[in-house]
Amino acid sequence: MTHGNSGHHGPNGPKQLPSVLATPAVVGAWRTRAAIVAVVFGLLSLVFLGSHEGRNHLLRAYLMGYMTCFNFCGGALAFLMVQYVSGGKWGQILRRPLEAMTRTWWLLVVLFLPVLFLMKHLYVWAAFPNKSALLNAYHQGLITHEQQLTAASKLTMLSPTSAVVEFFIVFAFMGLVITLLNRWSVQRDADPQAGTVASFDKWRVRFENLSGPSILLYVILMSMFVIVFVKSLDVTWYSSVYGLQFLVAQGYAVLALGILTLILLSRYEPMKTMFRTTEQHDMGKLAFAFVMLNIYLTFAEFLIIWSGNLPDEIPWYLHRIHGGWWYICTADVICHWVIPFCILLSRDIKRSKSKMIWVTAFMIFARFIDMFWLIEPNFNDAAGNLHLAGNFGILAYVTVPIAVVAVWVFFYLTELMKRPLINVNDPHTEELLEPEHAH
């Protein structure tokens, strides 16, 4: 071997960019499967229309399924902006799946209409939308004195009109940023100067300038959205960390889904060439951080409220611990934290494709337990009283979220098929083709 051979060619040299970057045809088959699951579980859910409590649970379970999809879409937007600001090869390889997730935002607008039209069945502030209605409801014994007083003091934020306005503000903002990020991403690849430093810099700066401020605005608006449509299921409770908890849950869910998508795609070109173990390992580490951050926030909130032991705050936890909820609460801690935490500690598992498929799928499953534990105990018939006897409608929490998420997955995969899987005009593309441990 001579000194002239610097090792940039031959077996240790960079790989060739695959000639076809389009999404493999197999994604169409996955999409068909998602459609079948959606139809089957949608039909199963119709069973619950038969009874009053069934119909009630149908709507609550729908909200849970909806929020799971919202977390995928919103979390993807947050990650998309963060990776534009931070840079890094993990963000480049994850970019097109994230873009596809964000482009489902119009679906989330459509899917939210049932909640908007039926909100008086979910929220006290929607059932009794003004001070006199609240007072009447209190006199009739429909709500407690505390509910009446707190709902009356929160009318500016929590009323049907405000809710609709807030919904439109959140989605108008998300829609604008998502549209711009997605449009620019295509224009970036079509840039006549593509591949030059001038082009790299131009687009990098443009994406950074939009993403930076939008991250802040997104976090504020997303917090508002989850406070209005999830936290306010219990009007009497206050929590300043609620929005952040959802943000972390979004990161948790989106990383799990993103890693799962990339591993499944990596059985086919172009991801077979592009998706390296290094980036999978990086994303696994990031997922581990989110697993840890999630329990940190959840437990910190619990510890503070437990220490304070105030009658304003503590019932929220009592409703979620007593009367059978202990099992769900424990399952939530074990599935959402203990198991992913212990598994993701291992370097070998984070680098294994076959094992990470199961880990990420389990993490997505754990999200459902967490959402169930957050949503169902808000309602009087379930607070501190988890029961199945005479309450079979609660099984809607199994069928409806699966159906709603399957519908979302159908559109996610549809969007995924619309674009090449690699954003070519990015300096990271070349780096992704280098051997795992560059010389």
Binding site: T2, N12, L345
Partner: protein, 180 residues
Amino acid sequence: MPVYEGVYGLIAEFNTPTELVNATKAAHNAGYRRMECYTPYPVEEAAEALHFHKTGVPLMCLLGGIMGLITGYGMEIWVNVWGYPLNIAGRPLFSWPAFVIPGYEWTILFAGLSAAFGMLAQNGLPQLYHPLFNAANFRDGATTDKFFLCLEAHDPKFSVTETRVFLEGFSPVSVVEVDH
């Protein structure tokens, strides 16, 4: 401590990591096992070519963490339930949520210390003398821009003459015999 004398090994100097990795792979294929690569920055292919073993540091870190958790949490339980029981706002003496944070801190502390000291215990540092520094070209190049492969004399396959011929086959900058 035994007194080492004679030849420590032969070091071949290369200008590029690729040459080093290729030579290392060939040496491994030829049956050499007692060997080491020296590079100015981490070259993971070199570790792979050496078939470098997995270290025990992750396990020590894990065991340290578990020990810390048991110690911290156990101490909280002992102090609050038996050692110095206090009625705090009517809460039970075994108030497990309050013990989580000290338990967590001890976990991190023990895990961190176990990783650091476990690493030192296993890699033989601090080491005040190493025979390779007897070679002038190693002293000058090993931390700047040269890549070295050392085939050590205690390898059963080692022979001062044949191993030198073997190493020279890779056209290194030099092959130097290093004494203890």
